[in-house]
């Protein structure tokens, strides 16, 4: 049973397809990382899943039907699409109180959730325009959890959280999924998602460019090799006819086994400083390659640089 399913979702804005034929599904008990640079179409896809935006083609389903057909969606699906989308003149506790009343949740749950996300009594009484981005994100998470939902759809929830907050959120989401919940969370930063996601869906230029578990995505990631003389290493590799992509940290990611790369380096008389399966470096490279190779990714180049860092 797919708790969240995007089937060929397509959205055109101003004649340009910002989301094109996006298909993926999220199963119960799993965390799905929805990755891509800013402007890749993550938010638009999530808005279509939540019925806030009409797809030009394709269907979005949540809990086996259109989101719109859920009688009281807040009790089954927790949503955080934009932590800034709150009335600045409302107090933190009141913002949650309004939503609790709307979905018929006991008002007593509001202080519980504020405590859970680490907003103290003073913060609860503050007006939201005085909130920092991190506090807004915490309130947004409290809001998403308010109705005790079984599905979470979170757009860039880690944005603005400090490293400690990010770890806390990962644990929260992991626990949520381990209890049988379904999580879809987006990020433009690989490292935010990598540690918690069971599967990753990578989007670039409005299209899905790769999807699968970490191991599946890395199956052909290649070998990371670094040398004291990078230029000599590059020459040796290309002389051997191997495709070598320069890596951000220096050195190359090569589509070959470490042993073969080592032999070539030996033959070429190059002293290696590092040699092994590319793993995380490979995933970063993969993310970079996949998303930068996609059409329309040009303007997002700066974000890509940030994304792989």
């Amino acid at each position: 049973m797919a708790m969240i399913e995007s089937l060929g979702l397509t959205k055109r804005l101003g004649g340009r397809a910002v989301v094109q034929d996006v298909t993926f599904r999220c199963e119960p008990g799993t965390v799905t990382g929805f990755l891509g640079p800013n402007g890749a179409g993550k938010t638009t896809t999530m808005r279509m899943l939540c019925g806030l935006s009409r797809p030009d083609a394709g269907t979005a389903s949540v809990l086996d039907g259109a989101y719109r057909d859920l009688p009281n969606p807040g009790r089954r699906v927790g949503i955080l699409l934009d932590a800034g989308a709150q009335h600045g003149g409302r107090r933190g506790q009141e913002a949650l109180g309004v939503s609790a009343q709307m979905m018929g949740v006991a008002a007593a749950r509001v202080p519980e959730l504020l405590e859970l996300v680490g907003l103290d009594r003073r913060a609860a009484r503050q007006r939201l325009r005085q909130y920092s981005l991190g506090m807004r994100q915490r309130l947004g998470l409290a809001h998403a959890l308010l109705g005790d939902p079984e599905v979470l759809i979170l757009d860039e929830p880690a944005n603005g959280l400090d490293p400690e907050g990010m770890r806390w959120m990962r644990e929260l989401l992991r626990d949520f999924a381990d209890r049988g919940g379904t999580v879809l969370l987006s990020s433009h930063l690989l490292h935010e998602v990598e540690a918690v996601a069971d599967q990753m869906v990578i989007i670039g230029g409005g299209r899905i460019v790769a999807a699968g578990t970490r191991a599946e995505l890395l199956a052909d990631a290649g070998t990371l090799v670094c040398a004291t003389d990078a230029a000599a290493l590059g020459t040796a590799l290309s002389a051997a006819g191997l495709a070598a992509r320069p890596h951000a940290d220096g050195g190359y990611v090569v589509d070959a086994e470490p042993e073969e790369v080592g032999r070539i380096a030996l033959a070429g008389g190059v002293a290696l400083t590092r040699l092994g399966p590319s793993e995380s470096a490979g995933l970063e490279q993969l993310f970079f390659d996949l998303t930068s190779g996609a059409p329309d990714a040009g303007p997002a180049a700066a974000d890509l640089q940030e994304a792989v860092r």
């Binding site: 807040g74 009790r75 003149g89 979905m103 049988g180 919940g181």
Partner: protein
């Protein structure tokens, strides 16, 4: 690829997930939203304060004839004709400017129910405001104790018109808010467009006839002044189609279909 099981996730008891929020509950939420922000709080407080100020001034000044209940109530209702529409406008536009519409529509995907709740909440607030104004005008009338004939006389027809007019002014605000979806243009438009139309119907000769039917300044304010004749009702009705039904229809379309960003 996944650890999915066919069983229903445990630890989640979707209590209340099967019943959609009632319109009464949504109306209560909208009333709450009118009062729980800083802007909403001060607007309502200004309304109470200004109305009190008006009745005090009315009771202390002017001839004894003006200290009767009817003129007192007429004066007391004036601040509401300005402030209630603004509250109505903000009730809709703040959802867009503050982007809370994303939350509201995620919780209630059938947006027409949200709009209906806003309209109902407006009628409730206008009614409460009317009753409060009534009480303040009554206290002022009693205190001034003018003793003139007909101190407490107020026809049922006029009384009804006053209540109707108070509710309508707020609903026109909601209509403008929904049609424009932006606070400042909606507030400016609410006050400026009728004045411009009124001026045009006075200045442009060809529009004079139309003006009798669509100029708010001519067809609506007297709802608070005297009991309307059939002819006056017809003109007020046409005016309300132009200034209430049309903006509300445009607003309903934009409110239910507009993309929230």
């Amino acid at each position: 690829m996944s650890t999915a099981t066919a069983t229903r996730p445990h630890g989640f008891h979707a209590r209340g997930a099967g019943t959609r929020p009632s319109l009464a509950r949504l109306t209560k939420v909208e009333l709450r939203k009118m009062t729980d922000t800083r802007a909403g709080f001060w607007l309502l407080l200004s309304l109470v304060g200004l109305t009190a100020l008006v009745v005090v001034i009315s009771a202390l000044t002017g001839p004894a004839l003006d200290h009767r209940f009817q003129p007192m109530l007429y004066n007391a209702l004036q601040p509401g004709t300005v402030l209630l529409p603004i509250i109505g406008i903000l009730l809709v536009t703040s959802e867009w400017s503050q982007r809370t519409a994303m939350i509201t529509f995620a919780l209630v995907p059938h947006r027409e129910r949200v709009l209906a709740a806003k309209l109902l909440a407006s009628v409730v607030l206008a009614t409460v405001a009317f009753v409060a104004t009534l009480a303040m005008a009554a206290v002022a009338t009693a205190a001034s104790a003018s003793g003139v004939d007909g101190q407490w006389t107020l026809g049922a027809g006029l009384f009804g018109q006053m209540a109707f007019s108070t509710a309508i002014s707020m609903l026109v605000g909601v209509g403008f808010g929904a049609a424009l979806l932006l606070s400042a243009p909606a507030i400016v438009g609410f006050f400026a467009i009728p004045i411009a139309v009124s001026a045009a119907t006075h200045v442009v000769h060809a529009l004079r006839g139309v003006g009798q039917w669509i100029d708010q300044a001519r067809t609506l304010p007297d709802l608070l002044d005297h009991s309307y004749s059939a002819d006056e009702w017809a003109k007020a009705g046409v005016t309300l189609v132009v200034w209430l039904a049309v903006p509300l229809a445009i607003g309903a379309w934009r409110f239910t279909r507009g993309e929230v960003r």
